[in-house]
Symmetry: C2
Subunit: 308 residues, 2 copies
């Protein structure tokens, strides 16, 4: 059975592969790394790209940290007593230069407690400034292909979970066209309820799935980079892009449980907030023109659209 | 004893006075009003100024709403059972064009329950992009003058409360140079603890204080407008301004309890988020140059500075 050290090593390798693939596709931008130490044990490698040819600001972060559960952590996990934890993951957000390119996010993570409990989580979602239906269908098809190789229920369950997670209640909008999201994915026989058990596999199988999700990222995004980065746009599209980036900021700071948890548990702020865009804009009560591409995009930022 | 209707009327009059004073001082910008209805009763007058001579984006909002307490509201207030509530207030945020001008925030509010309980809250705080010590001292002196006319303990208590409230934990920075903040200010004999009772006055006296705080806003900010708006600046100062506006966004969306409460209880999003700046910027791990004015500002974004 795969160990936490092997999982962390595989995640680091994945970080290397993804950074390499993004650099090749961008052609100009290079990742720079900040290695950091966690206050209770372990640390991370934060890799940032800025002012690339296609990517304006993005991060591909690895972390592997451990220590005693804090009060906040114990509370979130419903732990009766303190325990040692180990957590490792890869987190990605990319903000492209062009408004015709989508923002993308990917995260995979593994968590283990000295009590013996362990689980995986993760997700990948796409936030186009302008929703292109063919791209959204293609994106979801790639995710479905990956999921279907591991469990027939994964794509439908995790697609719905993403709709619910990447949602901005105060705007009544999804963040983008969704994707997949999953959490507390525990090995078979270790879950507390039948719904979770129905999705469970062996630990090794779960790891294979989670790594496959991670490996799906680079082919998807580099394809979208090649296809969309050279599409023409002007000031109107750039103005819309900065407004949509404002919505991304609203989701991440006000609603994203991962960001909130990181900020509240004294995580490394600069690594957590690499998800924020280079520039965002707010206009009071902005309205899109009827029949415009912007209005069309808003109509597609809804839960429950079946893209495949 | 002053009634809730009289308080709401006085708050509306204050909104009119402040909008008038800001328009005169700006010389170009004009407030436009959106009147709105609350889903359970009452409504508001949101007044927005954009692209003024001195003010780039700002709001001076009045609301007076009532209805049955929602579950979220009942929970926040520790209410054993549902009750009717009435809430009225004035909320202001101004984002100036010039980085040499501070951002300012002011809020006063009154809350009443059908159980008989009632209280006032409010605050005013200044967020300079560049901290000018003489301005910060002058600002705090104006607040102290207002407080001292009502209760000798108000300024020291409410200044400390502002230091604690307008704080960004994940940056270990205060939002700006602080000001005053207070909440659950109840009439004499109606508080639950001696600390609160020590600050209590009659309901009419509390109203006089809260209104005086509101009336302090326009003289303070129009003075700063006249004094600072024409100071020279360039691209470097503008770049710093957009980074500091990013911090303002981080505080408001991730930590401000008023914003959070409004968004979570289905308040009017566009009125709540008028507090966000026109444009904000994020740079990974931005560092100020040693001995720079920017570094000097960061050194002064700390709790516990005695400005008067």
């Amino acid at each position: 059975m795969i160990s936490k050290e092997q999982i962390a090593t595989a995640f680091q390798d994945l970080q290397d592969q993804i950074c390499g693939a993004l650099e090749v596709a961008d052609g100009l931008g290079r990742f720079r790394e900040d290695a950091w130490q966690h206050h209770s044990g372990g640390g991370g490698r934060t890799r940032i790209i800025e002012n690339g040819h296609i990517i304006e600001k993005g991060g591909v972060n690895f972390s592997g940290v451990w220590g005693e559960t804090s009060d906040a952590l114990a509370k979130q996990m419903n732990l009766a007593q303190k325990a040692e934890y180990f957590a490792t993951g890869v987190s990605i957000v990319q903000h492209p230069v062009s408004p015709m390119m989508p923002i993308i996010h990917m995260n995979i993570r593994y968590f283990e407690l000295s009590t013996g409990a362990c689980w995986f989580g993760g997700g990948i979602d796409l936030t186009p400034h302008y929703v292109v239906e063919a791209d959204a269908r293609w994106f979801h098809q790639q995710l479905k292909n990956t999921c279907d190789q591991h469990h027939a229920d994964y794509y439908p369950k995790f697609k719905k979970w993403a709709d619910d997670y990447f949602f901005i209640p105060h705007r009544n909008e999804t963040r983008g066209v969704g994707g997949i999201f999953f959490d507390y994915l525990k090995p078979k026989g270790e879950t507390n309820n039948t719904a979770a058990e129905a999705l469970a596999q062996s630990k090794d199988e779960l790891f294979d799935f989670v790594l496959a999700v991670g490996q799906t990222f680079a082919p998807i995004y580099t394809h979208l980079m090649r296809q969309n980065h050279a599409l023409p746009y002007g000031e109107a599209e750039q103005n819309w892009q900065t407004l949509r980036r404002g919505r991304y900021v609203e989701f991440n700071l006000a609603w994203d449980r991962g960001t909130k948890f990181g900020l509240e548990t004294n995580g490394r702020t600069e690594s957590i907030l690499m998800s924020l865009p280079p520039v965002a804009r707010w206009v009071y009560n902005h309205q899109t023109a009827p029949q415009s591409r912007e209005a069309h995009t808003l109509e597609l930022l809804k839960k429950g659209i079946d893209w495949v």
